[in-house]
């Protein structure tokens, strides 16, 4: 099983530890997890993200998780995903996406839509609400819709990927809440568990889950691919 965790910020840093812990003690053999992020861990991240070293997030998290979980292979890929290096994602992978821009979501979704088999679980949030999308392709057929099919804001993104942004732009981050990031991470984990353990791939129907921590509601959506 090859898992790619793309984005190691508020969502990915929590997610990577949970997924590694779970798989380290699971029945699966030959698990390889690749942590992908070109960003550096900085003081401004302290309130929501946990890393052991102030350096590239993929490198730091990889060191940390390798010492904790010995039964799985953990690799680092310290770059932002772009058109050139996107082939790091391969057919048959499980991609867990916790990035902060629609441009990367679209890039990865479009790329995955050309692969024969792929499981892509993507999460995003605002301050107190968020969503997780599940895109499954099996034998060249969409089982659930791609990230862009029902989301024109992803398809016609207006944002930039982090490697295109100036320091000034990067400073202007939207406020984020640790608990909302945790909820997204939690729903990504539950979708992962559901797909890998509980359901037959072709029977999986949930295409998106929304939640709101203010109203404490969550709702799953079934959509045609």
């Amino acid at each position: 099983m090859n898992i790619k965790i793309v984005g190691l910020g508020g969502i990915g840093s929590i997610l990577s530890d949970s997924i590694c812990r779970f798989l380290n003690y699971s029945q699966f053999n030959d698990i390889e997890i690749t942590l992908i992020d070109g960003d550096e861990y900085e003081y401004k991240n302290l309130e929501r993200q946990s890393f052991s070293y102030f350096e590239n997030k993929a490198v730091s998290k990889c060191k940390e998780l390798k010492t904790k979980y010995k039964n799985i292979t953990i690799k680092e890929f310290p770059q932002f995903i772009n058109q050139i290096n996107i082939s790091v994602i391969q057919g048959g992978d499980i991609v867990l996406l916790g990035v902060d821009n629609h441009k990367t979501r679209k890039l990865i979704s479009d790329y995955c839509s050309k692969l024969e088999n792929i499981i892509l679980i993507s999460g995003g949030n605002e301050l107190i609400d968020g969503n997780v999308q599940v895109y499954i392709r099996k034998d060249n057929k969409d089982i659930t819709p791609s990230l862009t099919k029902y989301h024109p804001e992803i398809d016609n993104f207006i944002d930039k990927s982090p490697d295109e942004m100036s320091c000034e732009e990067l400073e202007k981050t939207e406020p984020q809440l640790l608990f909302t990031n945790m909820m997204v991470s939690c729903f990504i984990c539950s979708a992962f568990y559901n797909i890998v353990y509980l359901s037959k791939l072709e029977d999986f129907k949930i295409s998106e889950i929304y939640f709101d921590i203010k109203t404490m509601c969550a709702s799953s959506k079934i959509r045609k691919p």
Binding site: G9, G10, I11, G98, V99, D100, N101, H102, R105, G123, G124, N125, E126, D129, G130, N131, Q133, L147, Y150, H151, P152, E153, I154, D159, P162, M165, E169, L170, K172, T173, E174, Q176, N181, V184, S207, Y210, F211, D212, T215, C217, A218, S219, K221, I222, R223, K224
Partner: protein, 183 residues
Amino acid sequence: MTKKQLELKGVLELRELCRSLEIAGYSGERKDGLIKLLLKYYRKANRLKTKKTVNIVKETPQESYNCCEEEEKEEEEEEENEDKYLEDDEDDIETSQGDTRIISIPSTKTLLVSHGANNYNFPNFVGKEIIDIRVSMTEALNLSSTGDYTTLVDGESKNSDYTFTGDEQRLEFLKEAGSKGVK
């Protein structure tokens, strides 16, 4: 639902049922009156549904004439047999032409309407358009009164003038994906 089944219900339950079916003038009624109103409502809705089905099934004017005759006969029978009214879900009835009509109870069935994390069970949605439901649900589902929404009925994109037939289960007003972003 039969008269006996209605009699087993409490007054509050019957009132709630009347309210959900939007039956007018139930508030001052006692139990007997509420049961009468409900039976009348079911009978009327049942006729409407039968008419619709027959209109779809009929092919020639002659057949149409026969159907109408039969319908009138049925109406009379129905009024006489108020007691044994309506089975639980659906009854198939063979017409003189050999066609099968489906007679079903008017819905206590609801439509699951959602926007983001918010869900609402919407009653009496048959015959309504998406736009009608949007207007009634603006506050409950925290919908913007001005913005455009992609609307999905049972997971498929539909225009706002789509009219519900009663077979649908879910209506979703699509909410944008979270960006978790740098803006």
